[in-house]
Symmetry: C2
Subunit: 241 residues, 2 copies
């Protein structure tokens, strides 16, 4: 097994520029795949994650494509600058090791983008089918996460069924699997795995606010800090500042 891209079966990796998807990319390489990254410019207010994703892709020596989507509706604090980005403490019903540190009133947070992962996977599927890739990697995680329904294992199994019945590849019995190597890991576990794999965490961007520096307050910053703390590692992105 080579750690260099260009060998092995091809796969599409959904790369957001965050910590999880960067780890998923390096996991795909480690498993012997030859990844092509797919990056989305979908009007997210933390647009700077796109530049991070491109840098990570280049660091891993993998080609990437950017898909530009203009959603003519909003419905999410990640898209609508008039809505506040929630901070931990504003809501409850979170699951996982960080949950007890958060309290509040609502279930799924306002940063949920309706059907976002369904949209991302559908593009990844179109691309995978076009290039003959055998798998789609997504850095979804259902432990230390924000409670988004499209980050849970059942969603990915349901989407695999869509692939098998709704594509030419499926009809011709060429399987395109959805692989979620981080789904059962804690944030600390992801960071330990990524550190072993040499993920350049200093290039990743997690903060939902797209400002010059991470805010340190939003849920995404919260889980990142919790993960590094529990992994007993220093966040190289902070060190790099």
């Amino acid at each position: 097994m080579s750690n260099k891209p260009g060998f092995g079966k091809s796969c599409v990796v959904l790369l957001s520029g965050g910590l999880d998807s960067a780890t998923a990319l390096y996991s795909a390489r480690k498993k012997g795949f030859s990844p092509v990254c797919l990056i989305f410019d979908y009007g997210q207010r933390h647009k700077r994650e796109i530049a991070s994703a491109a840098k990570i892709s280049r660091a891993a020596g993998c080609p990437y494509k950017i898909v530009k989507i203009s959603l003519p509706w909003q419905g999410s604090a990640l898209l609508d600058k008039n809505l506040p980005i929630p901070v931990p403490g504003q809501r409850n019903k979170l699951k996982g090791s960080g949950a007890q540190q958060l309290s509040g009133s609502a279930g799924i947070p306002s940063t949920y983008v309706p059907a976002r992962n369904t949209i991302f996977l559908s593009f990844a599927l179109s691309f995978a089918e076009t290039i003959g890739a055998e798998a789609i990697f997504i850095g979804a995680n259902a432990i230390d996460y924000s409670g988004y329904p499209d980050c849970r294992p059942g969603f990915y199994r349901a989407f695999e069924k869509v692939i098998s019945v709704g594509t030419k590849a499926g009809v011709e019995r060429r399987k395109i699997r959805i692989l979620t190597p981080l789904i059962g890991l804690t944030k600390a576990g992801i960071i330990r795995l990524g550190t072993d794999l040499g993920v350049p965490y200093e290039l990743t961007w997690s903060c939902y606010r797209g400002e010059a520096r991470p805010c340190g307050k939003c849920e995404s910053c919260f889980y990142r800090a919790l993960g590094f703390k529990q992994a007993k590692l220093q966040d190289p992105a902070l060190r790099a500042k």
Copy 2:
């Protein structure tokens, strides 16, 4: 039940500008829904269907949104102007009443766009969830059709499962159904239904070649002509020329 939009439960209608989706829109109205149309500008070579879709939406008195997608890959004769548009007789394995009139070598035709309906449905789902719509209408048809795998009933059932497990609406038990009122109709049956419903077929565009007039030769023109012939009706789009 009112035939005017603005009453009833809201729904999203995927409107391509062709005969089938226009009939699906009028079926949705007839069923008492208040439709909002979703039109895609995805780099199709028959781009003029977009203008047709907008006209149909206005004729039905329904609002519409246009989603612009730039796919950074091709893999389909509908996207790639260097590939020929197949004509009936170039392939076999078609099913339905028109199938016996076609012969050739391949199964799914080169006009198949990888995962196109999955992409369209995922946007429709995002929109439906955002506006609180209860259904998504799509004019898919599995009788007189081109053999696309994402036009078959099993695909839509699989996608409904994705909705129920992968969205906030699903988690909160607000059902978003995918309705395919034309799935079991012949092309002639669709045209008879649409004629009863007052669908302005003179505004629809079916030809895969985006030229000034329908080519009359591609599969889409073939099925349209077959449908009008079997319904014993004249195609008003031809009369309008």
